[in-house]
Amino acid sequence: MSDFLLEIGLEEVPARMIAGAEAELGRRVSDLLQRERLLAVDTKVGAKVTTYSTPRRLAVLAEGVLAKQADTEEQLTGPSWKVAFKDGAPTPAAQAFAKKAGVAVGDLKKVETPKGEYAGAAAKRAGRTANEILAAELPKEVLSIYWAKNMYWQSPAGHKSSGGDPVRSGKPERFVRPVRWVVALLDRSVVPLSVAGIAAGSASRGHRVLWGEKPVAIPAACAYKEALRGAFVVVDVAERRQIIRKALDATTRTVPGARWREDEPLVETVTHLTEWPTVILGNFDLEYLALPEEVLVTVMRDHQKYFAVENAEGKLAPHFLAVLNTEVDAQGAAIIRHGNERVLRARFKDARFFWDVDQKTPLVARVESLQHVTFQKELGSYYWKTEENLRVARNLASLVKAKGTSFDEVALVKAVELAKTDLTAELVKEFTELQGIIGGLYARAQGLGEHVALAIYEQYTPASTEDEIPASVEGQLLGIADRIQTIVAMFGIGNAPTGSKDPFALRRAANAIVKILAESQLPLTLGDVIDASADATDHVPSHPGGKDKSAARMGHPASPKRAQVEEFLRERLHFYLKDVRGFAYDVVNAVLAAGADDVRDAIARAQSLTTARGSEDFVAVSAAFKRIKNILRQAEEKGFVHGNWVNVKGPEAKNLRSAILSLADEVARRREQRKYAEALALIATLRPTVDAFFDKVMVLDPDEEIRGANLALIAGVFSNFSTIADFSEMVAG
């Protein structure tokens, strides 16, 4: 058994793409070895596939690879025995068959088949060697790895082969970045493959600066990791991550009481930006702490990939941590720290300059200038958007108020009016990721009140499904109004997301609406949200340049546009329940089939159903509902009509009828009170009655009256007890 190593040497791969590609390479190699029967699955040693990556390489090590596929034997059937042998002597037909099967004529055997006696042969297929298979198959696998953005580096048409080989005469390979070397080893010998025109060898490359240009010899596949460690490259991603975390801890300890701000995504990024990570601590002048923390952290994290440091009280401290891709002595560290500090100082200075400039024009004086900021060219400016948001927010506000939720309505209106004005601020132009947050900070600094400031500040949260929702009712309403306005207006001009394309991030917007409704106390349903926006969309953009204004109208509640938006939000609710909350797909389907308008109610029903589904009675009841649905469908196909259930015959049917009558009101009342667990427990008590009914009663009785009564009866079960969830959607087990 052997170890197989593949390393693809690349120019620096974008950090954000490495993890996915590394996993995909591991999967592809593993699948290939399995498919080609090259993995020693049945031995005690077993097979193991490990992947590695750095910015300059993707690698995979497969242990327990067979040198060769096992030989196989295939039973072939040829001409009939009579045709193959005349008087015991082989005919040309027998000879041809033997040749095709690769056996001697004498090895042909008589086989009995239902059609008579035939000539048979056991054809041997010699297993191919791992070397052969990997050389032939692996390059395709590597080049099929998905990258968000590919490039050419060789001449796109320069591959024209003179030999007329059709496969190679087309374009050269595209890949995320140029392939510069390839290592492919089965134990100690090179596998003769080539990727994107680069022939594999046994020489890798080390850290650009610490090791330099000389090759790194990989003596054997299993020695890969250690050989590269010797060349200042840690190929194991988890190990690099650990090194970075430890170094961050250790470096922070040099400042008493300090802690580095945990930042998982940033740890990932710097892990994929380094081959030999070390950490230095840098400082900045105390005076910059007067700037808002959000600005300082954004500059450090997003622009410089530095970790922020906080003091024992959790307040930002005037330090930062930079993860380096090198190792230097104290003098080198001083030089690098000095350089990083200068860059940060310049950026902080800029930020302070912009902050000061921005204060000369308060937010309230910026509303008019939104006329010059385009929201969407077919719809209008952010001035238009603000007017629309106001209308939607007012609608939402009156609904919420009518249902008894109290909040600061004046602050809400002010916040909506000013929400987008920070788009004209210099600081936002510099740090676009801080839009909203800057607006909120300015509102606070300009004395517009905490409710206004907070609502503006939080308007873009949640930015993802993991993010928190706005804390204030004003912020929640602003966030919903802004997003539903965008969704409805975009759908109106035909910009609904399709497949994987969602250029306006409308799914994210809808996810946020669902999340806010789910995790706040707002008394709003998805339908309410759409209603609030509906009349707004009848106000078509007044902005010149908008075309086909009528397309933006949502018009009547029953219009196809509205149905489209409803369906879209329902899909997002489905996503939320299943992927964010982790409910089983059948629970989600069952719950949404019984109503998808009230988000928090759907969650409560899903929770109860998830708890109830384990009980045996409940499984049986679910099966019965599936049966009921099937029978009702059959009956409908055959044109059977429902009769009156008073006409049912026999004790089982009558028992079921009484059970419905006695339980229906109880269940309905509990549903009303949202006591779903109790309601479901009551429904589960139907089990013996339903089981007995299906045991003894043929629903589709030949007698039309009985059949009609039976159908009415089971339809009654379905309609009375499917109001919490459609149990027929449940999957057993």
């Binding site: 120019e11 620096e12 974008p14 950090a15 954000r16 910015p55 953005k149 490039m151 050419y152 580096w153 060789q154 001449s155 796109p156 048409a157 320069g158 970045r177 140029p178 510069r180 650009r208 600066v209 240009e213 930006l273 380094t274 400082n283 900045f284 002048d285 105390l286 410089q304 530095y306 005037p318 330090h319 930079a322 380096l324 891709n325 090198t326 230097v328 003098q331 080198g332 001083a334 030089i335 690098i336 720290r337 000095h338 350089g339 990083n340 500090e341 200068r342 860059v343 100082r345 310049a346 200075k349 800029d350 300059f353 010059h372 900021v373 385009t374 060219k377 400016s381 010149p544 340049g545």
Partner: protein
């Protein structure tokens, strides 16, 4: 508390701004590049010079380097911001096709400027480049040295809306940043541009360029005459359009002599497009281009630039 760091002497014998340019030019000249003088028409980036924009088209190998003053009127700060300029200096290098060791060559060029990589932290971070008005884009990196972006490294994929064959690698060195870094100064204006070898007296970046930064900021933001700028724009555009139309007819005419096609002035046509691009930038800095106009005007420039590029590519095949 931040401790007072002893300011490390990064480079005790700091090279002057002009030394850095000399070194880079010599480095690349020794590696077979033609060293060109800066292009004498206003451009927003070295990429827009015909030495890059047009020469990356077509099959002919090409290696060129030049220091290009690049104008971004809206970035002007009246000489008051220590890190921002209306006009900065890009050292622009094009390698067509790129050699397999292009990154290693680049690192050597840093060493040639006195950047001892052993004492610094270097990273290639993803950064793709795009110039929509030129129908041009590529993928590559920003090269970070101790947290400072010093170079844009791009593999061109398309230019003038045309797929490139062969691919070109473009390296754009930000010379002011590199000088600030090596000379360890906080303000661009303190960069030593030149030093008198006899007296040791320094001439600073501020001495050389501050007046230009101030006066062009005043012009671009306050005094540029908007109607007249539009007149210029329209007139350059009209001339370019006439030329492009003639070029189209001539290049499609199978009976036309090859010699006639070759002498058709497409380089001047492209220069007219560059004029329009610069005028657009001034109008933009002046706040004279509304949002609704913006896309349209960029489209007009694109028509000229892409039109010239396509005609040029065709002319080269004649």
């Amino acid at each position: 508390m931040p401790q007072a760091q002893p300011a490390p002497r990064v480079n005790p014998t700091s090279l002057t701004f002009q030394d850095l340019l000399f070194r880079l030019q010599a480095f690349w000249a020794e590696r077979g590049c033609v060293i060109q003088q800066p292009y004498d028409v206003e451009v927003g980036a070295g990429t827009m010079c015909p030495e890059t924009f047009l020469r990356v088209l077509g099959p002919k190998p090409h290696r060129v380097g030049y220091a290009q003053p690049s104008r971004r009127p809206a970035d002007g700060r009246y000489g008051e911001n220590p890190n921002r300029l209306f006009k900065h200096t890009q050292f622009q290098l094009v390698l067509k096709p790129p050699p397999a060791n292009v990154q290693e060559l680049y690192l050597e060029s840093l060493e040639a400027m006195g950047i001892g990589l052993k004492h610094h932290d270097l990273k290639f971070e993803e950064d793709n480049w795009e110039w929509p008005a030129g129908g041009a884009w590529g993928v590559g990196w920003q090269v970070m040295l101790d947290g400072l972006e010093i170079t844009q490294f791009t593999y061109f994929q398309q230019c003038g809306g045309l797929d490139l064959d062969p691919i070109s690698a473009e390296l754009t060195y930000g010379m002011e940043r590199i000088a600030q870094f090596l000379q360890d100064v906080d303000s661009i204006y303190d960069i030593v541009w030149a030093r008198d070898p006899q007296t040791g007296a320094a001439v600073t970046y501020g001495d050389v360029r501050l007046a230009e930064e101030l006066q062009f900021s005043v012009y671009n933001f306050e005094m540029a005459d908007v109607p007249r700028l539009w007149e210029h724009f329209n007139s350059y555009e009209a001339e370019a359009q006439v030329l492009l139309e003639k070029a189209g007819k001539l290049l499609n005419d199978e009976d036309a002599a090859q010699k006639e096609k070759r002498r058709f002035p497409l380089l001047p046509t492209y220069e007219l497009a560059l004029k329009c691009s610069n005028l657009f930038n001034i109008l933009d800095a002046r706040g004279a281009i509304s949002v609704t106009e913006r896309v349209g005007v960029i489209g007009r420039i694109r028509a000229l630039a892409v039109g010239a590029a396509k005609a040029w590519a065709e002319q080269q095949t004649e």
